[in-house]
Amino acid sequence: MAGLNKVVETYDQALAGLTDDMTLMVGGFGLCGIPENLIIKMQEMGVKGLTCISNNAGVDDFGLGLLLQKKQIARIYASYVGENALFEKQMLSGELDVILTPQGTLAEKIRAGGAGIPAFFTATGYGTPIAEGKETREIDGRHYVLEPSLTADFALVKAWKADTMGNLVYRNTAMNFNPMMATAGKITVVEVEEIVPAGTLDPNHIHTPGIYVNRVIKGSFEKRIEQRTTREA
C-alpha cells in the first residue's frame, strides 16, 4: 500500500490514465514554472484532441509548443498567446479552437473550480467581446459578467519542492497558476526539483497541502528564459 506516499518513479506512472480528448490544466507563466518534462512526455505519448487550460501556449519548440507541433491540442483556454508562430498558424487555419480569457478571470475560474464554486460574477470584461452571450447582472450599480469555473481531468503542475506526502512549495514567480491548478484537477500530477521526506518541510511554509496532490515526480529542468534582461554589474 502506498498510503499517503504520492511519489512515482517514472513519467509513464506520472501520466497513467491520460488519454485522448481529455481536459488538462498546465501550470506556468510564459516558460516560467511549466511542468516541462510532463509536456515532453505527452508529446511522446501522442495523446490527441486535448483541451488545454494554460495562461500561455509556450514557444515553438518548448512548453506547449511541443504539443502544437504534433497537433495534439484541439482547444486552448489562454490569456496571451503572442509568442508562438505555430499557434498562429493553427488558430488561423481553424485547427485550434482558442478561447481567450482575461488573465485574472482565468486564474479565478481555476481557483473557483478547485474550491467547488460553479461560477462567479466579475466586472472584468463587461462591455467587451468577452461578455458576449454571457449572463450579466447589476449589483450595487456596477455591471458584472457571470463566468463559469473550470476543472480538468488532469492538472499538470510544477513546484520547487515536494515532500513524499505531496505537500508543495513553489519558488519565486514560478508559482503563478500552479497552486490553483493543483486544486482543480481530478488527478493532479506535480513535477518538482526536489523530493524530501514527509515532516521535513516546515508546515508554516507549505503553499499547497498534499490533499490536492495525487502524484509527485522528480524531474530535471532546462528552465528556459524567454527574455533575458540584465544590467551592468
Binding site: 503572442g82 485574472g104 466579475t122 472584468t124 462591455g127
Partner: protein, 218 residues
C-alpha cells in the same frame, strides 16, 4: 516637439505618490519605473505574482524563476512578496493597487479603452489588461496621440473591440495630458513646443480647451 517615450514616462512618474502600489504595463509604462523620484517609496506589482519588482538582474543574478509580466528576468526589491496569479488578481480586481499605467490603441470620450485586438490582424490576447482596467480606480493610459499616418487615436467612440468600458479618466500622450469627464476630453497640459492648435487637429473626440493650458514639465 512631440515627447519621446522617455519623456512621456517621466511625465507619468509625476503622478506617483509616496507609498503607492503601482502596476506598470508593457512598453512605455515599464519606463516609468526609471523616473520614480528619489526618496519616494513605491512598490511595483507584477501580475504574474510579485509585489516589489526590482531592477534587472546582473548576469550573475539571473534567475529563470524570477520574471515580470513581460517575461523579462527581474530582481526583487526590499520588502517584496510572492504569490499566485489568483492572489495577484485579487489585489487588482479588489482595487488594492493605487495606480495602473497601461498602453492603448484607442480611447474615447466615454472613458472606453481598446488595447488588445485589431480584427483581421493577429489576436495575441488581452493578458491581464481587462482585469486591470476593471479593477483599478486610478488608471493612466499612455499612447501616441495619432498613428503614423496622422489619424487620431483620441476618439468620440472607439472603433476597435473594447478592453474595458467607461473606466479611463486620464490619458498622457506624446502631445498632451487629457482628462476624460462629462463625455469629453479636457486638455490639462500640452507638451513643450506643441501648440494647442496641433492638439486640436490631432484629437478626433470632443475636446474642451480651458482658458489656460499648462505646459508639461518634462
Amino acid at each position: 516637439m512631440a515627447l519621446s517615450r522617455e519623456q512621456i514616462a517621466s511625465r507619468i512618474a509625476q503622478e506617483l505618490q509616496d507609498g503607492f502600489y503601482v502596476n506598470l504595463g508593457i512598453g512605455i509604462p515599464t519606463l516609468v519605473a526609471n523616473y520614480i523620484p528619489d526618496g519616494m517609496e513605491v512598490m511595483l506589482q507584477s501580475e504574474n505574482g510579485l509585489l516589489g519588482m526590482g531592477q534587472f538582474p546582473t548576469e550573475d543574478e539571473v534567475d529563470a524563476d524570477l520574471i515580470n509580466a513581460g517575461k523579462q528576468t527581474v530582481t526583487m526589491a526590499t520588502g517584496a512578496s510572492l504569490f499566485s496569479s489568483a492572489e495577484s488578481f485579487a489585489m487588482i480586481r479588489g482595487g488594492h493597487v493605487d495606480l495602473t499605467v497601461l498602453g492603448a490603441f484607442e480611447v474615447d470620450v466615454s472613458g472606453n479603452i481598446a488595447s488588445w485586438m485589431i480584427p483581421g490582424k493577429l489576436i495575441k490576447g488581452m493578458g491581464g489588461a481587462m482585469d486591470l482596467v476593471a479593477g483599478a480606480d486610478n488608471i493612466i493610459v499612455t499612447m501616441m496621440h495619432a498613428d503614423k499616418k496622422g489619424n487620431s487615436k483620441i476618439l468620440d467612440a472607439c472603433t476597435l473591440p473594447l478592453t474595458g468600458a467607461q473606466c479611463i479618466k486620464k490619458v498622457v500622450t506624446d502631445l498632451a495630458v487629457l482628462e476624460i469627464k462629462d463625455g469629453a476630453f479636457h486638455l490639462l497640459e500640452r507638451a513643450p513646443d506643441v501648440s494647442v492648435e496641433e492638439i486640436i487637429e490631432k484629437t478626433a473626440g470632443k475636446l474642451i480647451i480651458p482658458d489656460e493650458v499648462k505646459v508639461m514639465n518634462v
